[in-house]
């Protein structure tokens, strides 16, 4: 079996013995800058828009629900099981499928509908990123299969950036098998470096900041 053979080769080449201790990992300084909430929101919006996503800010959960209702009018949508969408009333909007807990059904629905609606566990303002942690509340496919993605995010979840994320969440694997950072709409430039959006993932991403 190659396992032992490869590890043996590695150790011999490095002059190490099995189980030999290692020096401390070089320090990585995570910097979490002071940034007022208003500044985070402003930066988040401008980053998302620079990526050709859409970013809107609404004052209340009701207003978020209204915004989503208008955005999905005449279209089909699936909502994740995030409690926040329930609280906003979005999960109960007409035409929205939600509460799906079986993978086959979820896949079939997500492959059919026009819009996937999620919340997000965090957002990173300095890159315009949504952080999606898979669990009972959020799945992988709702933000992936439909051609459009709407994420409804309460403003207090907006962090400054990666450093703050890894400060808060030094060990994501302890809580999920899948954490995905989404930064703008799916894109490719594989043909003559011409930017095309929506190649495999959603071509439209809308971030609704609440509060």
């Amino acid at each position: 079996m190659s396992r032992d053979n490869i590890l043996h080769k590695v150790r011999t080449a490095l002059g190490r013995s099995a189980g030999q201790a290692v020096a401390d990992v070089p320090p990585v300084r995570l910097r979490v800058p002071e940034a007022a909430m208003e500044d985070r929101i402003a930066l988040m919006r401008s980053r998302v828009e620079a990526l050709a996503g859409k970013a809107v800010r609404v004052p209340t959960m009701d207003a978020a629900c209204e915004f989503v209702a208008a955005a999905i009018a005449g279209k089909t949508a699936v909502a994740s099981n995030a409690p926040y969408l329930e609280e906003c009333g979005i999960a109960r909007l007409p035409g929205v499928r939600t509460g799906i807990r079986e993978v086959g059904e979820l896949t079939a629905v997500c492959a059919q509908v026009d819009i996937g609606i999620t919340s997000a566990d965090y957002a990173l303002s300095d890159t315009g990123t949504l952080v999606m942690i898979a669990g009972p509340a959020e799945s992988r496919l709702v933000s992936l299969l439909p051609p459009a993605h709407i994420a409804v995010v309460p403003r207090e979840r907006i962090l400054t950036g990666l450093d703050e994320l890894f400060t808060i969440l030094p060990n994501p694997a302890a809580q999920t098998s899948s954490m995905v950072l989404i930064t703008g709409p799916s894109r490719t430039a594989d043909i003559e470096q011409i930017l095309v959006r929506g190649v495999h993932g959603p071509g439209q991403v809308t971030v609704v900041i609440v509060g």
């Binding site: 079996m1 190659s2 396992r3 490869i6 590890l7 080769k9 590695v10 150790r11 080449a13 490095l14 190490r16 990992v25 070089p26 990585v28 995570l30 099981n81 807990r101 993978v103 979820l106 896949t107 492959a111 300095d126 890159t127 315009g128 990123t129 898979a134 669990g135 009972p136 799945s139 992988r140 496919l141 992936l144 990666l162 890894f166 030094p170 060990n171 994501p172 694997a173 999920t176 098998s177 899948s178 954490m179 995905v180 950072l181 989404i182 930064t183 799916s186 894109r187 490719t188 430039a189 594989d190 043909i191 003559e192 470096q193 095309v196 929506g198 190649v199 495999h200 993932g201 959603p202």
Partner: protein
């Protein structure tokens, strides 16, 4: 092989369209990288490079430790680690698993490591359908070609080429608009994703303290590959391991910036094991294949070991005046450009393509842009000396002659024009093949001296590429 190297370089130089395509694409990537790493945009850039280098150095110097830690954690989350020494072991593992699960269709996301072991060909040889899903890789799979560039695999294909390929292979109506071509691919591949039993991805990082793989991409095909099918297999070189999840804060800031000039790529997936209780979707089985395939050969020598720090961002290709002239397919293996020039001889042995370490002007651009600060020029010099040693051992000067011929050409051509900010004009001498054999006198005193002696005396191009393009 060396005659092949000569011929491919010659063909690339003689193809005006290809020259323009390489020059434009690498130029654009190069500029975008400069914009997002500028002092006022990323004041920490140099510090991040230093940290990234230190982290990689630490991980590689203690590789056995981190591999074992990674393995323990993958298993703790219900995944499985499979060590493979070479291409055959990788394909045997996949074939066996596919057989046991009755799987016929495999979707693949972009992975240089699987290119390295010709995984698709091997699987298809045994009757499995293995489909590349990154748009560029898909185009190349249909065209039966290898990636032209680590990051932009189909960089050499025009929309018309793609239209021809799709019309011929997919039997669709001819379209030449990139948006429409993309939609065609999306449609075909979407069906494959939903039908596939197994998804095979690469891994940009293996995170030891989390038992996780990190995948970085823009299209969403890696997410689909790792989310839709019941089985996810990540194939990665053993050198991809980093100690902790938080180290990603350093690497993520560097990788997308260096590769495509983005602050972050569109999707960064951090995947630890199969779907857990309470999660609605995701694979039921999760495997990580850890591949040696020659990597352990790079470990004994301290400075050459650095070659394993590479995060495959492609920045050195875009910065390299030689890559920008001779393109990706001139290189004898899947890895091209400066990183290809240093890892190919070490993985395959220097006599595989002795000219390779000489296909560089040692201008230093690669080392300057490398986000993990690999001293590529230094490794190139060491490999040149290895070529000379192996030549002495083999008692023949064929190797040296071929190597120097490449070197001579490099020294007398591209860099100088790049410095002048002009499109290189080496097509005329290349077109009639005159450069072959035109070894300048200073070479007799060794490559480095020659380089230094030539350095301040750039011959001026008789005609720039642009002029030739206009007059063609």
């Amino acid at each position: 092989m060396s005659v092949e190297f000569d011929r491919k370089i010659h063909d690339t130089l003689a193809d005006a369209n290809l020259q323009l395509a390489i020059y434009t694409a690498t130029g654009r990537l190069k500029e975008k990288r400069i914009e997002v790493t500028a002092d006022n945009v990323l004041p920490d850039y140099q510090e991040l490079r230093t940290q990234a280098h230190a982290l990689k150095q630490h991980a590689i110097d203690n590789l056995d430790h981190y591999l074992e830690e990674f393995e323990r954690n993958v298993e703790a989350y219900g995944g499985k680690v499979v060590y493979c020494k070479d291409a055959t072991e990788v394909s045997d593992f996949v074939l066996d698993l596919a057989k046991r699960r009755g799987s016929k269709l495999i979707v693949k996301s972009k992975s240089m490591t699987t290119e390295e072991v010709d995984l698709n060909e091997r699987l298809e040889h045994h009757g499995l359908e293995s489909v590349e899903t990154d748009l560029g890789e898909y185009i190349l799979q249909l065209a039966h070609e290898k990636p032209y560039h680590i990051v932009a695999p189909a960089l050499h294909k025009t929309r018309y080429d793609v239209a021809d390929i799709f019309t011929k292979e997919l039997h669709v109506a001819r379209e030449t608009v990139p948006e429409k071509l993309t939609l065609i691919a999306r449609g075909v591949l979407r069906e494959k994703f939903l039908k596939a039993d197994i998804g095979i991805s690469g891994a940009n990082f293996l995170i030891a303290d989390s038992g996780a793989v990190a995948l970085i991409e823009n299209e969403g095909n890696a997410r689909l590959t790792t989310s839709a099918p019941k089985i996810h297999i990540a194939v990665a070189g053993i050198e991809k391991v980093i100690p902790r999840a938080r180290d990603l804060a350093v690497f993520l800031k560097l990788l997308a910036r260096s590769a495509t000039g983005q602050l972050l790529s569109v999707y960064t997936s951090f995947l630890a094991g199969p779907r857990r209780v309470g999660e609605v979707d995701g694979p039921e089985e999760f495997y990580v294949v850890l591949l040696d395939n020659g990597r352990t050969k790079l470990l004994p020598d301290r400075s050459k070991r650095e070659s394993l720090y590479c995060i495959r961002c492609g920045a050195c290709l875009n910065a390299c005046p030689v890559y920008r002239k001779i393109g990706g397919h001139s290189f004898p293996w899947v890895y091209s450009g400066p990183i290809g020039a240093i890892i190919t001889p070490q993985f395959m042995g220097v006599s595989h393509e002795p000219a390779l370490p000489f296909a560089s002007s040692l201008c230093g651009a690669c080392g300057e842009v490398c986000p993990v600060k690999i001293d590529i020029p230094k490794v190139l010099l060491e490999l040149r000396s290895d070529v000379k040693k192996s030549e002495a051992r083999e008692g023949q000067n064929r190797i040296e002659k071929l190597a120097f011929r490449i070197f001579a050409w490099v020294m007398t051509h591209p860099r100088v024009y790049e410095l002048a900010g002009r499109m290189a004009a080496s097509m005329a001498p290349a077109g009639d093949g005159k450069w072959i054999g035109s070894v300048p006198a200073p070479l007799s005193v060794g490559p480095l001296k020659a380089w230094l002696s030539e350095r301040d005396l750039p011959p001026s191009p008789s005609k720039s590429f642009r002029e030739m393009w206009r007059n063609r």
